[in-house]
Symmetry: C2
Subunit: 210 residues, 2 copies
């Protein structure tokens, strides 16, 4: 991860600790990136605030300028990674020909993101135990985003009218497990090839020939 990789970190700080300067936002970004590396490698319980500040190259005081605790930075990190996935996928959606092509592009972008951010699986998955509310928020908001895309596609006449929340959860589940298999476990298959298989399944399954 790099300091330029992602989501607006400013909102991630603990209450009353939001950075007010560009330099502050860069420090906060560095702490979140270091937290991803620390928790991704060691897990929440073995990971430490001192490990994070060492990786970020910041003083312990800087950490407490922005976060109240190890729990707080983990919670912020889950939200940040969730936002990073959203922001990484968003541009590929905008360039799509239609909603099936958008879902193909979204999966391809997600697999690419997961290959360079494999720690996202450990971090989101560990949130189920460390921070269940963030875990739930991540998947609920991702599914809601997919459901909104599907409804919009149906309204444009590109998808069948019956697309629903069930389809959104099915698509999210496919994408998460294909990312696990073809990003985290091994990277042999090109992301385009995987996304194309799913696009064909969706085109026939919920698409409308035009």
């Amino acid at each position: 991860m790099s300091a330029t990789s992602g989501a607006d970190a400013g909102a991630a700080a603990s209450e009353g600790k939001v950075p007010r300067t560009e330099r502050g936002r860069r420090t906060l970004r560095a702490i979140l990136d270091a937290a991803a590396a620390e928790f991704g490698e060691k897990g929440f319980h073995e990971g430490s605030i001192s490990g994070i500040t060492r990786r970020a190259g910041v003083a312990l005081g800087s950490f407490y300028t922005y976060f109240d605790s190890k729990d707080a930075v983990f919670r912020a990190l889950v939200r940040d990674m969730s936002d990073q996935v959203r922001d990484h996928v968003a541009p590929s959606l905008r360039g799509a020909r239609d909603q099936i092509d958008a879902e193909r592009a979204a999966l391809q972008a997600f697999i690419g993101f997961a290959r360079t951010h494999k720690e996202i699986y450990r971090i989101i998955d560990e949130a189920e135990f460390v921070d269940p509310a963030s875990f739930r928020h991540h998947y609920a908001s991702t599914a809601e985003r997919i459901a909104a895309r599907l409804r919009a596609g149906a309204e444009r006449g590109e998808l069948r009218d019956e697309v629903s929340e069930i389809h959104a959860w099915a698509i999210m589940g496919m994408n998460v497990f294909l990312g696990l298999r073809y990003s985290v476990w091994d990277e042999e298959s090109p992301p385009e090839a995987i996304a194309e298989v799913v696009a064909q399944l969706l085109a026939r399954g919920i698409g409308i020939d035009r």
Copy 2:
């Protein structure tokens, strides 16, 4: 979970500790069921051997008759729950009209199983951290079983020839996330309705009209 719920527990014991009597197998089954309740409720780190023996109503010595450690019983439990899912889904597959109907029945059976065994999510998901080899074995073997079903369906002319490991992982991902959403999070939707939506997606997506 009940002592009659499932997979053959005999093979779950630590090396050299396989029960040789029916009574021994019943005790082992009771320990595994108690471990599911203990780890499902408290998680691996907070869960304890004494909590397991208390729930099972067996002496500490009985635990060590079959397992070497807390790690060993957790590892056995992951394998046992994986086998229970397989064994619970298997009968529904055998009654199916064709491979699409089989996948519909499998998802419906899985959602039903997850509603009465919600702890399976916590346990398999925590295995990613506590026992990565068992986590990987669970998903790799489940995907391989689905891939074999798809290949058989293609050979019978019920599915498109191009069905592949990618489809198997996509179907597994759908099923896992639909189980999370519609079993663990809430049980409002009937399992049949959810399975029917996926069956339609698959029928059009990878099925062949006959």
